[in-house]
């Protein structure tokens, strides 16, 4: 007997009593169901994760502009026309204290090293003026921090081909100025702040931000072709510059 024949005989002897279990088909089907369920669960979890990742920024962007409706629904004869902030300043001051009552009044702000999420800033000396005439918010401004009142009616300068609308607010929370430039060939470079600007985005659109002389900070972007926006803020309002910018809908 040669090796091949002996190998055949050995194999036959080895598997002589081997038979597939009667539940083989059921086991295979069960295994298949388990695999299918596992894949479905994985796909479901992945889809939920993607949905969550997509929805959270959307929800945040909605939260950033709550003042549009409330500003218009508020009684026009009330003393304050500006929306109250959702988060109060870290100092916990009342909405309209006198400047003398503020513990940090008169302090010198640090414009460049100021963290965005930091506490209240001084900035009292940056205010362009005291409370002015109470006018309604322009329809394209949907959010301003509390403690601000309009410094006056919005001013319009230039000609129809290059028109600039400027609105200013001031108060205990610092000051805010929004300039809306409507011109045919306006570009981001025309609105860029002085110094070394940094790139950022406002509602997904490319923007430039930088510090202004003094303690102000500015952000500029092209909201749509032919319409540029520059938002400048000083004092405590500077911390909410990006939120104010997100609320500008020209």
């Amino acid at each position: 007997m040669d090796l091949e024949s002996e190998l055949r005989a050995a194999m036959a002897e080895q598997v002589a009593g081997t038979a597939a279990p009667s539940s083989l088909v059921a086991d295979v089907r069960r295994r298949h169901r388990r695999r299918t369920n596992r894949i479905r669960a994985t796909v479901g979890v992945a889809a939920a994760s993607v949905a969550a990742l997509a929805l959270v920024p959307t929800y945040q962007s909605f939260r950033a502009t709550p003042a549009g409706d409330s500003a218009t629904s508020r009684p026009t004869g009330g003393p304050a026309i500006l929306e109250q902030p959702e988060r109060r300043p870290a100092s916990g001051l009342p909405a309209s204290p006198s400047p003398e009552g503020r513990p940090e009044a008169g302090t010198t702000p640090k414009p460049s090293a100021h963290p965005k999420t930091g506490g209240a800033d001084g900035g009292g000396d940056d205010r362009p003026g005291g409370p002015g005439a109470t006018v309604k918010l322009p329809h394209w401004v949907t959010y301003l921090p509390g403690g601000l009142t309009a410094a006056g009616p919005c001013t319009v300068t230039g000609d129809p081909a290059h028109r600039t609308t400027t609105c200013k607010w001031g108060g205990t929370a610092g000051w805010v100025q929004i300039a809306l430039v409507k011109a045919g060939g306006v570009g981001l470079a025309d609105l860029a702040p002085g110094g070394v600007p940094r790139r950022t985005t406002v509602r997904g659109m490319p923007a430039l931000t930088g510090d202004r002389p003094g303690s102000g900070r500015q952000v500029s972007w092209i909201a749509k072709p032919g319409t540029g926006v520059t938002v400048t803020a000083g004092g405590t309002a500077k911390e909410q510059l990006m939120r104010i910018a997100e609320g500008v809908r020209p």
Binding site: L3, E6, R8, A10, A12, T18, A20, V25
Partner: protein, 169 residues
Amino acid sequence: MGRRDDESFVEFVAERGDALLRTASLMCGARQDAEDILQTALEKAYRHWGRLDADTDPEPYVRRILVNLVISRSRRWKVLREIHMERPPETPAHSGTHAVELRGTLMDELRRLGARQRAVLVLRFWEDLSEAETARVLGCSVGTVKSQASRGLARLRERLGANLAPLGS
């Protein structure tokens, strides 16, 4: 051209389940591993069963899945299968039941071959496939099958050594 249905899968497993399990058992060496691998192979075939042509025999397809699974699993578990012994294993002594012991030794040596070489020997000498059919199942050339079978048999002869003397080889 018809497609295979669920009922034909049940019939196929009932008819060919034993043969496939024996092949798996010879290629794996352990019965439990063989059952597990056969279930995995059949599950893989079951996924695409509806797409198989009803007029062709599905067994070569399933056998190919089975062989590929055994080889890939063997590669993956190669490190785990290496068992270090404190002393060398005992060498079998000659006895009156020489043929029975020789077959046992032959199977032990077959298990110690590489997965691909073992698969070639099982397909050639257990399944009685031709060299061309074996090459098709393994997805390699006929020359590779010839060389793998030749080397496998040579290694068995070398390892069995003196035990093969009664075989006249």
